[in-house]
Each structure stands twice: as structure tokens, then as C-alpha cells.
């Protein structure tokens, strides 16, 4: 297999895993904030129907967390198996980020989700709401940490590279984490993620409940539809504002990404540096598609506040998933050919300290094609020797995706079982 084919396979597998993983974890994050909010509204209005909606949605929380978590593991295995040097270096440089995300995010949040789900109706309402918000805070630690890594990829602020003749890649890497925390692309990315997750989940809820209300005229679904539409609108606006801020910072600090997203090089980039920062893919079509999808979702939300249009609801359901996936794929692939974009401030510092040739050497090493290191990568080599392994895997992945979609369809299409309220 050629180098280009191997790079394409690597990127494709990782992109696929992310494309499934991210909408699922967005849903989990959104639900962790929305469920206790529904309970809180129910408590304030003394209306059990809000509790019932929260309870029936908590089932999806378990389902989506489980599958989203698995795809998170798939992402990690692909990163370790296909980009071992990159993942190894990321572990060495950013260990506190992974540590906090996993210990205080995943290890605590997953059992808490189970506890929250199992304790509906088995503990005092106020305590259960507090538990729900506690779960939301803990779960939010995960994107708070992982988005720092994404920001680092956009612009490796705080990183140091020193020439080392003993190093096979010619240099040693280091990082100042406090400086990395000041990454200008980090705050808007984190805000967009949190607001986006809540808006995304609210739109899904509103769309499904609109569909169900149109078919059943059950008031239960009307409440869910209106709640989802209101929350979706509020947090959708925050998401859009944060995204604009994020794109502005990306434009300033990550020229490869900006070029890929907007279709032309940033105006500040001198012509002689353009070959260094030219992206592999022009993804501006995806950016504009995302804008159109956003308008579709907005139209649905405006309608859902007043009436139930089942057809528009289904269009919005598909559109919001496509929008979220499109945005994440855009964010994930716009770096190419780089795994970490050698941003101008970083490159300038390297040129000043060690010369242009060294800066170019570092930049070349940060390319995905260099980091998959096919000459020492056992999985890539095995796929090269036995291509059936890849075909077989891809076939299985397609089957699992179909089962996954079927599972989601069943989860959404089944009517909840009769609910029994036993007020004391």
C-alpha cells in the first residue's frame, strides 16, 4: 500500500470513530444538564409530567453513554495503534489533562450516571436534582480537558522543541501546561462545546417529541417539545456566538485550519509561507453546509414553540446530527496535513532560536504522514500485508453502525411503558 493510502486509511478510521463518538457524547453532556433542569421545573411547578420526561430520557442517557464511551475507547485504540508516537508524546506532555479528565470525569461520572438513573423515585426530589447537577458538573470536566487537547492541536501554545542529535526525529519536546491553558482557541471552543451539547440535545428532544405529539396528541410530548425548543434556541444562540469567536481565534492562530475552513489563506500569511501552511483539504463547502443546516434547525425551533410539524421535526433531527458531525469533522480534518498545526508564533520562536531549517524539520514531523511511522507501526504493516483485515473490519464497522442506528430507532420509536404515580 502507498503512503497516501495508509494516511487516508488512518485518517478515515479515526474520523469515523470521532464522527460516531462526538454526537453521542454531546447527547450525554446535554442530558446531564437537561434532566435535573426538567426535574427542577417539575418541582417548582409541582408538575409530575416534567419528572416523567426526565425519567424516560434517563434511559437514553445510559444507552448513549455506553456506546459513546466505547467509541471513545475506539478513538484511543486507533490513536495508539495508528499514531503511536503522537499518542505516546501526547501522554508524556499532557498527562495532567488526561489524568483529570479520566479520574474525575469518566471514572466518577459513569457510575454516577447509573446511580442517578437507578435512584429516580428512590430518594428525595431535591437531593436527586442536586445529584443530577453534580453529575453534570463532573461530566463537563471531560470536555473541559479534552478540548484543551483540541486547542493544543490548533495552536500548540506552550510547547518547546529543542534540537537533540540523539533523537531519531532530531529534537526533544516539552510543554509548559500553564502557558497551554492560555491558548486563545480554548475558551470559545469549550463554551461552544458546552452550549452546543445542550442545544443539540434539546433539539433532538424537541424533534422526537414533536413527532410523537403529532402522532398521539399526548400533552406529555407537548411539554417536552416546548421545553426542547426553548432551551435549543437559547443555547443555540450561545453556540453560534461562541463558534464565531472560535473561528476568529482559529483564523488568527491556526492558518492551515482557517485556510481549509474558509477556502483561502488568511490575509496575514505571507506568500512564501503559504506552501508550508497549505491544507490538504478544502472544506469550505462543509462550512457553508453547516450554516445551511443551522438555518434548518433554527426554522424548526421557531415553529416548535407554537405548533407540531412532524416532517420538519424529522428534518431537524437529521439536520442537527449532520450539523454537529459536520462541525466536528471540519474541526478535525482542517488541520491536515498536520496532526498539530505549527502555528506562526510557535514557528517564529523556533526560527529565532534554532533557524528556519529546524523549524521546517519540526513542522514536517508534525504531519500525520510522518506520525503514523509505517516502518515501525505493526498494525499498519499488518494491514499492508493482509489487506483482508481492513476490508473485514470495515464490513463489521458498517454492520455495527447499522445495528446502532436500528437500536436508536427502536429506542425512539417504542412508546414508554405505562407509568404509575403513587403520590403519598
Amino acid at each position: 500500500m502507498t503512503m497516501d493510502a495508509l494516511t487516508a486509511i488512518t485518517v478515515g478510521l479515526i474520523a469515523w470513530a470521532f464522527a460516531v463518538h462526538l454526537p453521542l457524547v454531546y447527547t450525554v453532556l446535554g442530558l446531564t444538564w437537561l434532566l435535573p433542569t426538567l426535574e427542577l421545573i417539575g418541582l417548582r411547578k409541582n408538575d409530575d409530567r416534567y419528572f416523567d420526561i426526565a425519567k424516560s430520557l434517563s434511559r437514553y442517557l445510559i444507552f448513549t453513554y455506553a456506546i459513546g464511551g466505547v467509541f471513545g475507547t475506539i478513538v484511543t485504540v486507533f490513536l495508539a495503534g495508528l499514531l503511536p508516537v503522537f499518542t505516546n508524546a501526547a501522554g508524556v506532555l499532557l498527562w495532567p489533562v488526561w489524568g483529570v479528565a479520566i479520574v474525575f470525569g469518566v471514572a466518577i461520572s459513569l457510575p454516577l450516571i447509573g446511580f442517578y438513573y437507578r435512584s429516580f423515585g428512590k430518594m428525595d426530589d431535591a437531593k436527586h436534582i442536586a445529584l443530577g447537577y453534580g453529575l453534570a458538573v463532573v461530566t463537563s470536566v471531560i470536555p473541559a480537558m479534552f478540548r484543551l487537547v483540541f486547542a493544543f492541536i490548533n495552536y500548540p501554545m506552550g510547547v518547546t522543541a529543542k534540537p537533540d542529535p540523539n533523537s531519531i526525529v532530531g529534537f526533544d519536546l516539552g510543554v509548559d501546561l500553564w502557558q497551554a491553558l492560555g491558548n486563545p482557541t480554548y475558551p470559545p471552543l469549550l463554551i461552544a462545546t458546552l452550549a452546543g451539547a445542550i442545544a443539540f440535545t434539546a433539539v433532538l428532544i424537541s424533534a422526537v417529541y414533536t413527532w410523537r405529539y403529532a402522532k398521539t396528541k399526548d400533552e406529555h410530548y407537548k411539554i417536552g417539545r416546548e421545553f426542547g425548543a426553548k432551551v435549543g434556541l437559547i443555547f443555540g444562540v450561545i453556540y453560534v456566538l461562541a463558534s464565531v469567536w472560535y473561528l476568529y481565534e482559529v483564523y488568527q492562530y491556526s492558518p492551515t485550519m482557517a485556510w481549509s475552513i474558509f477556502g483561502s489563506p488568511p490575509s496575514y500569511l505571507p506568500a512564501q509561507l503559504q506552501p508550508v501552511y497549505q491544507p490538504t483539504l478544502n472544506l469550505s463547502w462543509l462550512f457553508y453546509l453547516d450554516v445551511i443546516l443551522g438555518v434548518v434547525v433554527l426554522a424548526f425551533l421557531a415553529t416548535a414553540l407554537r405548533s407540531a410539524n412532524a416532517g420538519l421535526a424529522m428534518a431537524a433531527f437529521v439536520a442537527v446530527i449532520a450539523l454537529m458531525d459536520g462541525a466536528e469533522i471540519l474541526n478535525g480534518l482542517a488541520h491536515l496535513p498536520y496532526a498539530i498545526v505549527p502555528s506562526p508564533p510557535v514557528a517564529l520562536a523556533l526560527i529565532n532560536a534554532y533557524g528556519a531549517n529546524f523549524a521546517l524539520q519540526v513542522a514536517d514531523t508534525l504531519k500525520v504522514s510522518a506520525l503514523i511511522t509505517p516502518q515501525i507501526n505493526s498494525l499498519v504493516q499488518l494491514i499492508g500485508a493482509q489487506p483482508w483485515l481492513l476490508s473485514f473490519s470495515l464490513a463489521l464497522f458498517v454492520i455495527f453502525n447499522l445495528i446502532l442506528l436500528g437500536g436508536f430507532y427502536l429506542v425512539f420509536s417504542w412508546r414508554p411503558r405505562p407509568q404509575v404515580s403513587a403520590q403519598q
Binding site: A66, G72, T73, W95, I108, L110, G114, G121, L404, P416
Partner: protein, 454 residues
């Protein structure tokens, strides 16, 4: 900044507690999902509703253990990235295959287990059972692949070459000093060589014995209190099976594994068997177990340099806990099993029933912990252990070291406070899983403001 050796010890402690917690949760999942599928099968064949109720209960319990166990799997995985970060380069250059295949197992589990849980009475009975079976297969195949990796840590598979970059005055980006590679790309399949399969099935049976022993203890406690028919039915399946599996462990798989250790890591054998001497000496008992005679000589523990010797305590975990507790567990469950099935040994067994509530789980736990600690600490300070014959002395033991310059993250700063916090989380989460199981199985509380079935 704490002393590097203290950091290493703290990292090992954090990892050991995390791995043991994960193993206990994963074992509990393997055991309970098997009981759910077996219970549903018996219900389908006999139409005995008590088995249906049992299958549903075990399904819920299995789901809880899976959820918390999966979180721990992620914790362990990121423990590798953060603490033993240079293991990632070893994975990428040599042992990515089982991790890759494990993804399919994981997909099986995560898709079919929720389907199994949410489709009781919603689809045809046999279709539902098949979904449960697929979820269980996913769980066992996942264990298969991860145990293949564990086996590789203990004994390097055939064809694996270790590359010490530091010896050549090289590194990668100032962080990576070791790589590993197979001679040809297709040798990556050697990870599943027959020796690994011995290790794997030894581990899988240990998981089932451990979890079923826990179930046996709880059900026996309930049986002594309540004497209900479902309790006898379940005990008749679980207890004799533990006895049979324990016998297979000791007489077949354990023996084969001992032979592998003898051949591939004689230093580990010396540590496990407590051969505390220097040079060659006859050990009649080990000779008999290994070769069937009393005359063979073995290299003693002190024949190797101190810096590569595993800790001396491993013999306690091996001989005292794993072998000793394992033998007692086999005898106890065989006796109770024969009593439950045929009414034999009534006089001897009946007084033992009450203490067995605690003895069966305790012995199984001791044997499991003993096995895990002796296996993993017995290879310390190396992974991917290889034995190289030497003309004038004991075989040379080589591998990738876990300390600084090997797997250990060179930038990690792990102080005692942080380590304590992580260990608290590691212990608290299985405890929470236990509480969730209790909540799931306990009768609904009498005073409830809002009771909803879902």
C-alpha cells in the same frame, strides 16, 4: 518534587489498585452475564418462571458491573497513557492487534447488552436469548484479547524483538527509549500463540470462579435464612461448577502455565516457588510437579542480580493465596456440590454451610488476588520478558523495564496526596457499583414520594 523511586512505587500502587478493581468488576460482569444467559436458557427449556426471574436479575446486575467496569477500563487505559506512557510506543510497534480486535468485542458488548436489557418481553424469546448470548460472547472475547496482552507482558511471544534505543544512544523526541517489533508483519498474530491461550483461559476461568463464588456466598446466605426453591436451584448449578472449574484450573491450566514459566522465565519460577538459594540445586517437589521425578535442579532466586529480581513476597501470594486457597476452595465446593446434587457427605457438609457463606467468596478472592499479584509482580521489573540461554550461569532474563528510561512517564509528578485521591476514587467506584446492585435488587422502600416503573 518527590523521590523518583517513591514516584515509581506510588505509580505501581495506583495501577495495581486500579487494575484489581477493574478485574473484579470485569470478572463480575463475565460471571453474571453468563448466569443471565444460562438462566434464560433453562427457562426457555423448562418454562420454570423462577429461572426467568433470576435471568432478569442477573441481567441488571451484569449491566451495572459492565457500566462501572467499562469506566474502569477507560481509567486503566488512560493510566497507561499518563503513567506508563512509553507503553504506547510498544503497543503501536508490536501489540496493537489484540487491542484492535478487542474493539469488535467491545462493540458486541455495548450494542447487544443494552438491547438485551431493554428488550425483555418485547421481541421473540429465542431472539432475546440470542442477543444475550451475543453480549456474553462480546464480553468473553474482550477478556480473551486483553488477557492476550497481559500474557504478552509476562512472556514475549515468538518472533518479538526488543529495541533498546538508549543503548544505541538514541531516543524519540526525548521521551521514547524502547520499541518492540516482530520479525515480519504477519508475526503480529503470534500474540495468540498457544502459551498465550493457556494464560488466557486460566484468566477467564479465574474470573468465572471468582464471580460465581461471590454469587454462591450471597445465595447460600439467603438459603440459610429463607430456604426458597430458587436458591437451591441456583446453588445446584453454581457450586458444583466452581468445583469443576477449580479442578481444571489447578490440574490442567495451572500446570501448563507452570511449565511455560519454567521454560520462559526461570527467575519468576524461582520467586514463585520460594527457591531462595544461589546457583543450581535440586528441588524434589517442583521437580516432581514439572518433570515427574525428584532429581531435577533449578536455578535459585539469588542466582540473578538483585536489580532484576521480583519482590520476595510473590511466593506468599502464589503458594499461600493462589495455590493454598484454590485447593481449599476446590475441596469445599466439591463437597457442598456433591451434597446439593446427590445428598452425599451430609454430616460433614451441613455444619460447613454457614461458614461457607464467607469462606467460598473469601477463598476465591484470595486465590484470584494471589494469582493476579504473583503473575504481574513476578515479572517485575520487566514486561515482554524473554529468557536467553547462558553458557556459564543462569539464563539471562531480559525485557523492557517499567522504571524511568523504560515505560515510566519521564515528566510525571505523582505525589502521595494525588495518589491517595486516585486510590480513593478507585476504591469508591466498585463500592458504588455494589450499592447500585443492592438498589437494583432490594425491595422498593416503603416510603416513596414518587414511584414510577421504568
Amino acid at each position: 518534587m518527590p523521590d523518583p523511586s517513591i514516584q515509581l512505587d506510588l505509580a505501581r500502587l495506583v495501577t495495581a489498585v486500579g487494575v484489581l478493581a477493574h478485574v473484579s468488576l470485569a470478572s463480575s460482569f463475565l460471571g453474571t452475564i453468563a448466569l443471565a444467559v444460562i438462566g434464560e436458557y433453562i427457562w426457555l427449556r423448562r418454562q420454570d418462571k423462577e429461572w426467568l426471574d433470576l435471568a432478569k436479575k442477573f441481567n441488571v446486575v451484569a449491566t451495572i458491573f459492565f457500566g462501572v467496569g467499562a469506566a474502569f477500563g477507560t481509567l486503566v487505559e488512560f493510566g497507561l497513557v499518563t503513567i506508563w506512557s512509553n507503553f504506547i510506543a510498544i503497543i503501536g510497534t508490536a501489540i496493537a492487534l489484540p487491542f484492535f480486535l478487542e474493539l469488535f468485542a467491545f462493540l458486541f458488548e455495548v450494542i447487544f447488552l443494552p438491547l438485551y436489557t431493554f428488550t425483555w418481553n418485547r421481541i421473540s424469546k429465542w431472539a432475546h436469548w440470542t442477543i444475550g448470548l451475543l453480549a456474553a460472547i462480546g464480553g468473553y472475547y474482550s477478556a480473551y484479547n486483553i488477557l492476550a496482552v497481559m500474557s504478552t507482558l509476562s512472556v514475549a511471544p515468538p518472533g518479538l524483538t526488543l529495541v533498546n534505543l538508549a543503548e544505541q544512544g538514541k531516543n524519540v523526541a526525548g521521551a521514547i527509549n524502547w520499541l518492540a517489533a516482530f520479525q515480519t508483519p504477519t508475526d503480529a498474530w503470534n500474540i495468540f500463540w498457544w502459551g498465550a491461550n493457556v494464560f488466557i483461559f486460566h484468566g477467564i476461568l479465574a474470573a468465572v470462579i471468582l464471580s460465581w463464588s461471590g454469587v454462591a456466598g450471597v445465595v447460600m446466605y439467603l438459603y440459610i435464612k429463607e430456604k426458597k426453591s430458587w436458591q437451591v436451584k441456583l446453588l445446584k448449578v453454581v457450586v458444583p461448577t466452581i468445583a469443576v472449574l477449580t479442578a481444571i484450573q489447578g490440574l490442567l491450566l495451572g500446570h501448563l502455565q507452570g511449565e511455560l514459566v519454567l521454560e520462559h522465565d526461570p527467575l519468576k519460577l524461582a520467586a514463585l516457588e520460594g527457591m531462595y538459594w544461589s546457583g543450581l540445586r535440586t528441588d524434589p517437589l517442583t521437580s516432581f510437579v514439572a518433570y515427574g521425578d525428584f532429581n531435577h535442579q533449578f536455578w535459585g532466586y539469588y542466582s540473578w542480580p538483585a536489580d532484576i529480581r521480583p519482590p520476595e513476597f510473590v511466593s506468599v501470594f502464589y503458594l499461600g493465596f493462589m495455590v493454598g486457597a484454590g485447593i481449599l476452595l476446590g475441596i469445599l465446593t466439591a463437597g457442598i456440590g456433591l451434597y446439593l446434587l446427590f445428598g452425599w457427605f451430609r454430616r460433614i457438609v451441613q455444619p460447613l454451610l454457614k461458614p461457607s457463606v464467607y469462606l467460598i467468596p473469601l477463598l476465591a478472592a484470595l486465590a484470584a488476588v494471589g494469582g493476579a499479584v504473583s503473575t504481574e509482580s513476578g515479572r517485575y521489573p520487566f514486561i515482554l520478558v524473554q529468557s536467553v540461554p547462558s553458557a556459564d550461569g543462569p539464563p539471562q532474563i531480559v525485557g523492557v523495564p517499567v522504571y524511568q528510561g523504560g515505560l515510566f512517564n519521564p515528566t510525571l509528578q505523582l505525589d502521595p496526596l494525588l495518589a491517595t485521591l486516585i486510590i480513593i476514587v478507585e476504591i469508591a467506584m466498585p463500592a458504588l457499583a455494589g450499592y447500585m446492585v443492592y438498589l437494583a435488587l432490594a425491595k422498593p422502600p416503603k416510603l416513596l414520594k414518587r414511584l414510577v416503573e421504568y
